[in-house]
Amino acid sequence: MRDALLTVRDLKIYYRTLYGYVKAVDGVAFELRDGEVLGIAGESGCGKSTLGNGLVLLKPPMKYVGGEAILDGKNIMALSQKEIKRIRYEKISIIPQYAMDALNPTKKIRQIVDDLLREHNSSFEEKRELIEERLAIVNLSKKVLNMYPIELSGGMKQRLVMVISTLMNPDVLVADEITSALDVSTQRSVVQMLYEMKEKKAMKSIIFITHDLAVLYQIADRIMVMYAGKVAEIGPTEEMVRNPLHPYTKMLLASLPKIGVRFVNERLKGIPGYPPNLLNIGPGCRFRERCPKAFAKCEQDPPIFDLNGRKVSCWLFERGDER
C-alpha cells in the first residue's frame, strides 16, 4: 500500500454568512496516496470545490473551523502566512475552475511565469526546457510565451494554466472542474494531457474534482463521493461502479444516461427531493429525506465504516455488510 501523501482528518470548513454558518465541508476524512488520482464527485453544493480550494487557499468568507490536513508532516490548514506561501505551488498546487480567466490580461505569459517562479526563487530561464517540454504535451507552441492572454482562446488558456500550475512539480495537484466548461472533444484531450503529465512526473498525485462520474471513471484510481458537505463513500473506481454501496451512489449511477439507454424502452429514475440547506444544519445522515432505505438510526450522524479498504458512511453497513 503506497504511503499517504496527504491525510485529511475531520476537516471542517464553513462559510460565514449574516444568518449563521453554512457547513460546506463538515468533518471530511480521506487519504491521498503517492502517485494516485483521487476523484471527488458529487452534486453542486456538496462541498467538493470548497474542499479542493480550501486545501490550497482559504480566504473569507471561507473559515477553517476544525480538523487537519497533513501534508509533508505539517497541518497545512494551520500554517503561518509565510510557511503556507512556501508550501503553495511547491508542495500543493491547483488548476482552478476559473482557469480560462486566471491569467493577468495585461501581462505577457512569459512575464507572468517569470514573476511566479521568482516568488519561489526560481526563474523563467531556469525552467525554460521544462516549460517548452510541458507546452508540447498540451499541444501549445513556444510562440504562446510572448503573447498576451487576450490573444489566446479559452481552451488554450486553460491548457497553459495546466502547465503553469505544475512547473514546480508539486506533490498534490487539485484539478477543480477542469472539464465542465469544455466541449466533448476537448474534454477527452484535456484528460489525456493531464494523464500524460502525471506519467512524466509533473505532479505526484491528483485530486480530480468534477460532478461528472463518467469522466472520473476514465482517469480516477479511487473515487470519493460527497453529499451535503460529508463523505458518502470512498473506494476503487472499478468496484465503486460495479458494486456501489451507499444508496446515494447507487441512485446517482442509476440516473446517468448512457448511449444505449433510451426513454422509449427504459425509463431512468432521478433522485427525488433536493439536497438539504447546509445553513446551521443539524445532526443525522444528510441523505435520509431522499433515501429509500432510511430508518430510525439515520437520525444520528453515521460514522465512516471501513469494509476492507472501502469506506462508506451509512448505518446500513454497521455490521460489516449491508443489512
Binding site: 490550497v56 506561501k85 476559473y98 491569467l103 490580461p105
Partner: protein
C-alpha cells in the same frame, strides 16, 4: 490599434467642429437676440459708439447671409483671428489669451499630474487595511466634494490670512516685472503654492477614491486569486492589481479633464491668478463676448488635445487594446 486611434481622432475633430458651431450659433440664436441688445446698449455711449457699431456689424457680418457668416467665422478662426477684445480694446483676443495661457498651464499641469500619481498611490495604500480605509475615506470624500474654488478660498484664508505663510493674490508681487532672474522665480513660486495646492488636494481626493474601489475590484479578480493560490506574495499581487486598476483611472482622467479645467479657471479667480480663468471672468464682468468666445474655444481645443494624448498614452499601456481592436469608442 491604428484603427482605434483614427476612430478617436475622427470623434475629436467632429467634437471640435461641433463646439465651434455652438460658439457661432449661440450669439445669433439665443432668445432676445443679444447682439442687437448689445449694439443698442453700447450705442448709447457717445465716444465709442461709431467704432463699436461698425465693429460689431463687421465682426458678426450681420448683413451677410447666415451661411456666409459661418464660413467667415471659420476662415477667421484658421487665421487665428478671434476678434478684438472689448474689455482690453484694441488688443486682439488671441494675443490676450496667448499671454495668459502659460499661467494656467503652470498651475494646471503639475496639479493634474502630481495629484494623479499621489492620489492613486494613496488610494491603493488605503485599500490595504480596513482601519485605514474607514479613516481616510471620509477625508477623500470631503476633498473631492469641495468646489475647487471654495477650497482655494479656504486655503487662502487659513495659510494666507490666519498664518500669513503665502501671498494670496497675483502670480508675482506688483513690484516685480517678469524675468528669469532668480529673485523673480522664487517670488513666482511663492505665489504659485496656494493655487497649485488647492487644485492638487481636491483632485487628489477623486483619484484616491477611484483607485480604492478599482483595486478592491482587481484584488477580487480571478487572476489575483490564482497568483495567491500559487504562493505569490502580497506585493506581487498588489503590483499586478495596481497596474490593472490604473488603466480605467487613465480613461477617467480623460473624462474628468473638462471638470478639472473648469475647476482651475474658478480657482484662478480666487487668487486673481492671471490665467485664462481670470480673463474669462473679466470678459464676463465686462460682457466682452469675443473674449468669452475666444476663451471657450481655447479651453475646448486644450481639452480635446489632452484627451487625444491620453488616448494615445492609454493604447501604449493597455495591451488589450493594442492586440485586438475591441475598444469602445
Amino acid at each position: 490599434m491604428r484603427k482605434y486611434l483614427t476612430k478617436k481622432a475622427i470623434i475629436y475633430l467632429i467634437t471640435f467642429f461641433f463646439a465651434v458651431t455652438i460658439d457661432w450659433v449661440i450669439p445669433r440664436f439665443m432668445p432676445g437676440n443679444p447682439i442687437h441688445f448689445l449694439i443698442s446698449r453700447f450705442a448709447t455711449l457717445p465716444e465709442a459708439v461709431k467704432v463699436i457699431q461698425s465693429y460689431f456689424t463687421q465682426a458678426f457680418g450681420l448683413d451677410k447671409p447666415l451661411h456666409e457668416q459661418y464660413l467667415n467665422f471659420w476662415r477667421a478662426l484658421f487665421r487665428g483671428d478671434l476678434g478684438i477684445s472689448i474689455y482690453l480694446y484694441p488688443q486682439p483676443v488671441a494675443k490676450v489669451i496667448a499671454r495668459s495661457l502659460p499661467y494656467t498651464l503652470i498651475v494646471l499641469l503639475p496639479a493634474v499630474l502630481l495629484s494623479f500619481a499621489v492620489g492613486n498611490r494613496l488610494g491603493a495604500f488605503v485599500a490595504k487595511k480596513r482601519k485605514l480605509d474607514n479613516f481616510a475615506l471620509p477625508i477623500f470624500y470631503t476633498l473631492t466634494a469641495a468646489p475647487y474654488f471654495w477650497f482655494g478660498i479656504l486655503l487662502a484664508w487659513l495659510l494666507g490670512v490666519v498664518f500669513r505663510l503665502f501671498p494670496i493674490a497675483g502670480a508675482y508681487s506688483f513690484a516685480m516685472t517678469p524675468s528669469f532672474s532668480w529673485r523673480f522665480i522664487v517670488n513666482f513660486l511663492y505665489h504659485w503654492v496656494l493655487p497649485f495646492s488647492s487644485l492638487f488636494l481636491v483632485m487628489l481626493g477623486g483619484w484616491a477614491i477611484g483607485m480604492r474601489n478599482m483595486i478592491i475590484y482587481e484584488l477580487e479578480a480571478n487572476y489575483s486569486r490564482y497568483l495567491e493560490s500559487l504562493g505569490a506574495s502580497q506585493s506581487l499581487i498588489r503590483r499586478y492589481a495596481y497596474r490593472n486598476a490604473i488603466l480605467p483611472q487613465v480613461t477617467g482622467l480623460a473624462i474628468q479633464l473638462g471638470t478639472v479645467v473648469a475647476g482651475s479657471l474658478t480657482t484662478e479667480i480666487v487668487f486673481s491668478y492671471p490665467g485664462i480663468g481670470y480673463i474669462l471672468m473679466q470678459g464676463i464682468l465686462n460682457q466682452d463676448y469675443f473674449l468669452i468666445q475666444g476663451c471657450f474655444l481655447f479651453i475646448i481645443l486644450g481639452v480635446l488635445i489632452a484627451n487625444f494624448l491620453i488616448d494615445i498614452f492609454y493604447v501604449i499601456i493597455d495591451p488589450r487594446i493594442r492586440k485586438s481592436y475591441t475598444g469602445e469608442v
